[in-house]
């Protein structure tokens, strides 16, 4: 079998989101193993920039342009992808596992009567059947399951790894414009308001300082921010992160959540303050070179995963850690 692999690109206006390159690489690798073809779909109001860039990875790039696709709306995106799939009949569809696609991917799977495996960390092909094999963490990271995806098409969303630099292949592939007929009337979920602020990403962070339930409140975040300021004397990029309770309690905005249902980070140093070490948090940070834990419970499981640990109340420890870093800068 020489599968036709369709990548749904993730773009924001004229820029391609970094995660798209990771998905493209995975698609290229699969295509390499199977002599398959990589097709890419770019959706938006005006796609020239991303289309050119991504055509380098693609045998054929399809641009799906409409003012209605300017920003993500699940039902309209679904209509567009369905029309493309009707024309090109892909065997495999790959998307990034992000908040928008948590919505779109299952809806697409239902519409195409396909099978979806979400949040995959590796893809392969079963040499006997030619089926897509999708590896994902299950039970919060307590096991790795390899699923056989017999769907026609087989759909997978890929976990963003937060890779720093992906090399662009040289050259350009062919770009094809798809004529769309989008029906705004049939849209049932109407967007009323966007409440957005600037969301930072963790890709470039050398150090992440993260607070959990144990920091007790927004005041705790201020202490962590002082530590971050001190660390900026030593490292170019230092970011604030949090475990889920720190977000649910409203101490930090949602994009700072790290873990299974948050961001995955790979800094040189991860400093976990008042975080117990639940696997659903840890799975987001195992890529860190060094892990430091500050926790007042010597039995907390975070210490099993840490390179350095302080047992004790975080306030005094963080303050003197901060002071000393300033001194040695």
């Amino acid at each position: 079998m020489q599968p036709k692999i369709l990548v749904i690109a993730q773009t924001e206006g004229s820029t391609t989101e970094a995660v798209t390159f990771e998905v493209m690489m995975a698609a290229r690798e699969l295509a390499g193993k199977t002599s398959g073809a990589v097709c890419t779909a770019v959706m938006g109001a005006e796609n020239d920039g991303p289309a050119k860039e991504l055509s380098r990875f693609s045998d054929t790039l399809y641009t799906l342009e409409s003012a209605l696709l300017e920003s993500f709306q699940s039902e309209l995106y679904l209509q567009a992808i369905k029309q493309l799939c009707g024309q090109i009949e892909p065997d495999i569809i790959l998307l990034a596992h992000n908040l928008d696609n948590i919505d779109l991917a299952p809806v697409l799977a239902h519409a195409l009567d396909a099978t979806l495996i979400t949040d995959c960390i590796a893809l392969g092909i079963d040499s006997e059947s030619g089926n897509l094999l999708c590896t994902k963490e299950v039970y919060g990271g307590n096991a790795n399951a390899v699923f056989v995806n017999t769907g026609k098409p087989a759909i997978a969303t890929l976990r963003p790894k937060g890779l720093k630099n992906v090399e662009l292949p040289a050259g350009e592939g062919s770009i094809q414009k798809i004529d769309l007929v989008l029906e705004e009337k049939s849209v049932r979920v109407e967007v009323i308001e966007n409440v957005s602020s600037q969301a930072e990403s963790f890709e470039k962070a050398d150090v992440v300082v993260a607070g959990g339930r144990g920091i007790g409140g927004a005041d705790g975040v201020l202490l962590l921010e002082e530590l971050i300021q001190a660390l900026k004397g030593k490292f170019a990029e230092v970011a604030l992160g949090g475990s889920r309770p720190a977000i649910d309690e409203g101490w930090m905005p949602g994009f700072r959540q790290i873990g299974l249902t948050g961001e995955k980070v790979n800094p040189q140093v991860y400093i976990a303050v008042g975080i117990s070490g639940a696997l659903q948090h840890m799975t987001g940070i195992f890529g860190s070179k060094k892990i430091v834990a500050i926790n007042n419970n010597a039995e907390a499981s975070i210490f099993n995963y840490a390179d350095y640990g302080i047992v004790g109340d975080y306030k005094a420890a963080v303050a003197s850690f901060t002071k000393k870093i300033r001194e040695i800068s």
Partner: protein
Amino acid sequence: MKTLNIIVCLKQIPDPEGPTTAYGVDQAAKEMKISGIPPVVNPFDENALEAALKLKDQHGAKVTVLSMGEKLAKPVLIKALGAGADDLILLEDTGFKELDSKSTAYVLACAARKVGDYDIILVGRQAGDWDSGQTGMLLAGNLDIPAISLAVDVKVDESHVVVRKLKRNGHQVVKAPMPVLISADSQVGALRYPSLKALMAAKKKKPLTWKAADLNLDATKLIARNLYQLNPPPPRFRKCVFIEGESLQDKGENLAARMCQDGIL
């Protein structure tokens, strides 16, 4: 306005925050071997139930809980009644063992149709066992109703719901006509504690049990998860250097000194 009918889908799973030592993998059988931890309601489903109960507080509503499994521990689900749900329906059948997401959504859809006349179906964004995160949207597809994912706040405005949902850079407010399916994020809020009195009363209630045969479903559509392999996770433990000191101040300073010495700072 007629009384709101809300269905909440609760999945029973082994405590996802149980110690990692409780979780084993039988690679030959491609099965999890989990011991010594209790079953719980999937945490995101508790959030979904809380969203339903908040609507009940505001508008009055009938809240029906559906839970599907091969074998369910009733005491775990009785908590939902204690917290304020009105009815509990167990979808229990040997044929419901380890179903894939598509089949699970199909069974839940058949059950929702049997409950009938629903306005809102609430689910969790993801179940902490297989971490699949798609059953809700598939269920909406089955029922051909609009779906809103990742809700952090749910309001009802006459014949519509107005939902604040997660976006990476903040929130988005959307509106959709009922009937509608909504998946809940943890930011919706933690499930209220049932009072002791409510819990006692709940224990006296008899949950309904529906088997596959009660659901008017096509048994050939029930398909188990298609596993090629199930493997233990890679080793992840590290050797922790515990920083000592007379006081916490000392420990903090010693940590910086040690990390400096090791070439990290």
